[in-house]
Symmetry: C2
Subunit: 316 residues, 2 copies
Amino acid sequence: MKVKVAAGIDIGGTNVAAALVSNDGKIVARFNYPIKNYPAIENLVDELSNIILKSSDDNNYELAGIGIGAPNGNFYNGSIEFAPNLPWKGIIPLAKMFHQKCSVNAWLTNDANAAAIGEMIFGIAKGKKNFLMITLGTGLGSGIVANGELIYGHDGLAGEIGHTIIIRNGRQCGCGRKGCLETYCSATGLVRTMNEWISEGKQSSLQNINANEITAKQIFEAAQNNDALALEAFKFTAEILGMALADAVAYTSPDTIVLFGGLVNAGNLLIGQTKHYMEQNLLHIYKNKVSIVASQLPESDAAILGAASLVWNKTS
Amino acid sequence: MKVKVAAGIDIGGTNVAAALVSNDGKIVARFNYPIKNYPAIENLVDELSNIILKSSDDNNYELAGIGIGAPNGNFYNGSIEFAPNLPWKGIIPLAKMFHQKCSVNAWLTNDANAAAIGEMIFGIAKGKKNFLMITLGTGLGSGIVANGELIYGHDGLAGEIGHTIIIRNGRQCGCGRKGCLETYCSATGLVRTMNEWISEGKQSSLQNINANEITAKQIFEAAQNNDALALEAFKFTAEILGMALADAVAYTSPDTIVLFGGLVNAGNLLIGQTKHYMEQNLLHIYKNKVSIVASQLPESDAAILGAASLVWNKTS
């Protein structure tokens, strides 16, 4: 009998990463390409389909299906809808395109939902029925699992906690509104905080770097070297995230919140302080019940495993 | 064959209402008692059990089960937990008590969750898989339905949207924190708004009534008579509720929000304006997709039908 594998594809703003994944979460082959190689989506689908089919064939695997995580991916219709950070505009029926090319079922969802399913099947949320997945990257993505199922909502677009308003009339968000959570709590949000404070004249070891060159990683390193402003920026980020998560808990009462993304490497600078501020803001009935944990999946693999999980979630 | 009925019990701060309900939502017998008759919970369970069993027996009904809606009712353990507005303190294992007395299964949940199930089975949300139930009474209660199921959370206490913070450091809430949604958007919240403004010297036809005597109904009547301050109080309430619902939609992406409670009688003064402000605040992907509707169940029956639905939801 052939070994079954799922193809997991993670489409980001810069790269597309794909892999063949066994149903116990092992990556048995992997491929990476820069997005800029594919000005037309058809090129990407053609090339990836060919390599996935060939690799399955060469290794005598049976391809069980294709799972894709992508920004603005809608699970219900399998389309990427108006993704601002991808080169392909409008509505892209990506699941259908892969299905037609590879003759297997294909599913699409957004990156944070894929990560949530990945954590539920292979990761730290294994067996959990009620948890939140929060991805802290360029923005803040979220996937909500309740009653053991991912919540997609009536239109496939549930779980945009990053676009709830945490500070009314606060920072301008890319979505056109003001004060969205992700403008404060994300790698980009942390950098914005630091740049704002430096431009106000606050002192930091990073103050001589151009504003548009400071990275979240540099702020973390400065914080490790006891730069007071960098430490304060992490505290500020954690305080806002803690307040937001206290509100989030009142919706679906999860027992666990899984954080994922580069910022999570800051460890207790982020997670410990976020937990502190969440507890401070929780309604009494939820206090001391909710864990905040870091994803344990290898960083480069989590999104791919999550995408592949879409297949195993449907076929196993 | 005997006709099956469920007992629905609605426990409120002032009254307990109970009824025998057929599986198509018809109330075939009803009972009402003041809560103050029952200083000990055992007295209530004894008397209600006797009347439910006797009425079922007299009418040749088969009692299929008992459903109870009560403040701070926890679905998972069937207990009322520390309800501030009830005479019985601590943890009351109410479902178990009724089960032991009546020898049928008994389920308990909080009032807003019971109303959500009632709307899903008998009401305006019939057949809907993703909706929010919002009850506007003394507080703001909520029940969240996603993927066709009520969300209870890991501990049975999900759905406390009334205790998300809408105005940081805002009004003192009974829960001990500040700025909870229900301190603004509820019958009590509307009255607080009016009293605050009158005490600041703003003019209204209600300004000569004692602050602790003004009711939401009087504010509604004043608004109908074009009292500018009463109209403004409804607008203020709707604006805050609209902002909060815009955030709520980003969690579970419902297609419908059902409003229930005395305030809903204000019709477009509340619902129309809330819809307006919700749309103004929604993330673009959710715009013009979400209906806000009033519950159509008879007001005195909705909570009982909801409680009885707990039985039909489990046994039909």
